[in-house]
C-alpha cells in the first residue's frame, strides 16, 4: 500500500477547506479505504472539532516533529470508522514549528500504512500553505462561486504550477443554484472558464453542513443531505471511479459543457 497524499487548499479562508477534508475523509473511510487526515493549520486547529475528536487529543503534529512522541501516538482513531485517523495540529504553536521537510517526512512514514493522506492546508500562501503542499501528490483547490474566492484560487493555482504540482483539481463549494439562475452568483462555468483546471466536484449550499460540523459528525455520513452526497461523489472520483455529477449540476445542459471544459486542459 502506498498512500496518495492529497492536500486541500484554497488561498482564501472560510471557503470550506476543513469541511471538505473532514467529509472526504469520512466518505473515503466509509468506502473501506484507509485514510489519515493531517491538520496543517498549526495554531488555529479545527479539523479535530469538525470531526468530533477534540476531546481525544493527547499529542499533536508538533510533538511528533519535535520528538516528544511517536507518530502512532499522535494518531487519533475516529469514533465510528476504524479505518480513519486524524493527526491534529498544535494549538499553542505557530506555523514556524513545522517545515516542508517535516511534512514530507511524516507523509513518507504514513504512506506504507494508508491509501490516502489528506492534508488540511491553512488559508493564505505563506509558510503554512507551503508546508501543506510540499508532500502533496495531488492538490484539490476549494473555491466558492464568488469573485474574491476565485481570485485567490487562481493565485494558488499559479503557485502550484510554479511548484510543478501538476495534478490539481477544483471543488466548487456552496453553490446556490437559485442565485446562479438570477445571475447573482458566478456559475460553475464562469469559475471553470477563469481557472482552467479540471473539476472534481460541485457541492451545493446546504444548511445541514453547518449543523453537522457543529455536532462533529461530517455531513457525508448523512444520507439525506445533498451536500453529503456531493462529498461522497467526490470521494469516489478521488478513488478513480467515474461518477456523474449531481442532477442539480446537470440543469440547462451544464453537464455537457462541464465535461468539455474539464477535458479541455489536463
Amino acid at each position: 500500500m502506498t498512500a496518495q497524499v492529497i492536500t486541500i487548499s484554497s488561498g482564501k479562508g472560510g471557503v470550506g477547506k476543513t469541511t471538505t477534508v473532514a467529509n472526504l475523509a469520512v466518505a473515503l473511510a466509509a468506502d473501506g479505504v484507509k485514510v489519515v487526515c493531517l491538520d496543517g493549520d498549526i495554531g488555529l486547529r479545527n479539523l479535530d472539532v469538525v470531526m468530533g475528536l477534540e476531546n481525544r487529543i493527547v499529542y499533536d503534529i508538533v510533538d511528533v516533529i519535535e520528538g516528544r512522541c511517536k507518530l502512532r501516538q499522535a494518531m487519533i482513531r475516529d469514533k465510528h470508522l476504524p479505518e480513519l485517523y486524524l493527526i491534529p495540529a498544535a494549538q499553542t504553536r505557530d506555523k514556524n514549528a513545522v517545515s516542508p521537510s517535516d511534512m514530507q517526512r511524516i507523509c513518507n512514514e504514513l504512506r506504507p500504512d494508508f491509501d490516502f493522506v489528506l492534508i488540511d492546508s491553512p488559508a493564505g500562501i505563506e509558510r503554512g500553505f507551503r508546508n501543506a503542499i510540499a508532500p502533496a501528490d495531488r492538490v484539490l483547490v476549494v473555491t466558492n462561486p464568488e469573485v474574491s474566492a476565485v481570485r485567490d484560487a487562481d493565485r494558488v493555482i499559479g503557485i502550484l504550477e510554479a511548484e510543478e504540482k501538476r495534478s490539481t483539481a477544483l471543488i466548487i463549494n456552496r453553490l446556490n443554484q437559485a442565485l446562479v439562475k438570477q445571475h447573482d452568483m458566478l456559475s460553475p462555468e464562469d469559475v471553470l472558464d477563469l481557472l482552467g483546471i479540471p473539476l472534481i466536484g460541485i457541492v451545493p449550499e446546504d444548511e445541514s453542513v453547518i449543523v453537522s460540523s457543529n455536532r462533529g459528525t461530517p455531513v457525508a455520513q448523512d444520507t439525506k443531505s445533498r451536500a453529503g452526497l456531493a462529498f461522497r461523489n467526490i470521494a469516489k472520483r478521488i478513488k478513480g471511479e467515474e461518477i456523474p455529477f449531481l442532477d442539480m449540476e446537470k440543469q440547462a445542459g451544464l453537464w455537457d459543457r462541464l465535461q468539455k471544459m474539464t477535458g479541455r486542459r489536463s
Binding site: 514556524n96 517545515s99 516542508p100 521537510s101 514530507q104 509558510r127 507551503r130 510540499a134 469573485v147 481570485r151 485567490d152 487562481d154 493565485r155 493555482i157 499559479g158 503557485i159 504550477e161 510554479a162 511548484e163 510543478e164 477563469l194 482552467g196
Partner: protein, 227 residues
C-alpha cells in the same frame, strides 16, 4: 566569511537563480549564502534557487536544513546540481530537481534586457494568473489569458491572444503610440503611456479589440478585417 563574493556566484536563469558554490567547506558556504540572502531580502524574496555544488557530497540533513532555512526566508530550493551521483540521488529523494536545462514555469520573471529594441517582444506561452507580474522593456505577447490580479507592464505594445482581464500598462515609459490588443478586452485597468482607459462602462463584445490613444484619450476599437 570575509569575502562572500568569492565563495558563491549567483546568476539569473530564465526560471530562477543559479547559485554556484566553490570548494570551501559546506558550513561556510551555506552561511555565506544565507547572509547574502539576508542582506538583499528584496531581491531574493520569493526566488527559486538552483544550487550548483560541484563535486561536494551533501548529506540529507544538510540539504533539508538548507531548504528549511531558505524556506524561512521565502526562498524555494528547486534543484541541486551535483557531479556526485550520491548527492544527486539524495536530492531526488527530497523531490528536488537535479537538472536546470528543462524549462520551468516561474511566477516572477527576469529577462536579459541588454539587446531590447523596438522590434523585441517577450513571448509568454501560458495563462497569467492572479499574482503574476510581467515587466518588460519591449513588447509583450501572451498566448493565453491574463486573469484578474495579473499585471503586465511593457514599454512597447501588449498583445493578448486570449482574454485580457488583468491590469495592463503599455508604453510605460511614455510611448503614446503604444497599443493593447486582445481577443477579449475586459481589463480591470488599462493604461497607455500616462492615459488610463475608463474601463467601468465596458461590456464583453466577444470580438477582438484594440486600445490606443487618440486625442489624448484611450479609445477602444473593434478589429475589422482589412483595417
Amino acid at each position: 566569511m570575509n569575502d562572500i563574493a568569492s565563495l558563491i556566484h549567483i546568476k539569473g536563469l530564465r526560471d530562477g537563480l543559479l547559485v554556484s558554490l566553490s570548494d570551501a567547506p559546506w558550513e561556510e558556504q551555506s552561511a555565506a549564502l544565507l547572509s547574502q540572502i539576508d542582506g538583499q531580502q528584496a531581491f531574493f524574496n520569493g526566488a527559486r534557487l538552483a544550487l550548483d555544488i560541484g563535486n561536494q557530497i551533501l548529506k540529507v540533513n544538510e540539504m533539508v536544513e538548507l531548504r528549511d532555512r531558505l524556506s524561512e526566508r521565502n526562498v524555494s530550493l528547486w534543484a541541486i546540481i551535483s557531479e556526485s551521483p550520491i548527492t544527486e540521488k539524495t536530492a531526488q529523494l527530497l523531490g528536488l530537481a537535479t537538472r536546470v536545462s528543462k524549462p520551468r514555469p516561474g511566477e516572477s520573471h527576469s529577462f536579459d534586457t541588454r539587446n531590447v529594441n523596438e522590434e523585441t517582444a517577450l513571448f509568454v506561452n501560458k495563462t497569467l494568473r492572479s499574482g503574476a507580474r510581467i515587466e518588460f522593456s519591449g513588447h509583450v505577447v501572451v498566448l493565453g489569458d491574463v486573469n484578474p490580479g495579473a499585471e503586465i507592464v511593457a514599454e512597447g505594445n501588449v498583445i493578448v491572444w486570449g482574454r485580457l482581464r488583468g491590469a495592463v500598462h503599455a508604453g510605460s515609459k511614455g510611448d503614446k503610440s503604444a497599443v493593447v490588443c486582445a481577443l477579449d478586452l475586459l481589463p480591470i485597468r488599462l493604461q497607455v503611456a500616462d492615459d488610463a482607459m475608463n474601463s467601468s462602462t465596458r461590456k464583453e463584445t466577444g470580438k477582438p479589440e484594440m486600445a490606443f490613444i487618440s486625442d489624448q484619450k484611450v479609445i477602444v476599437e473593434t478589429w475589422q478585417p482589412g483595417n
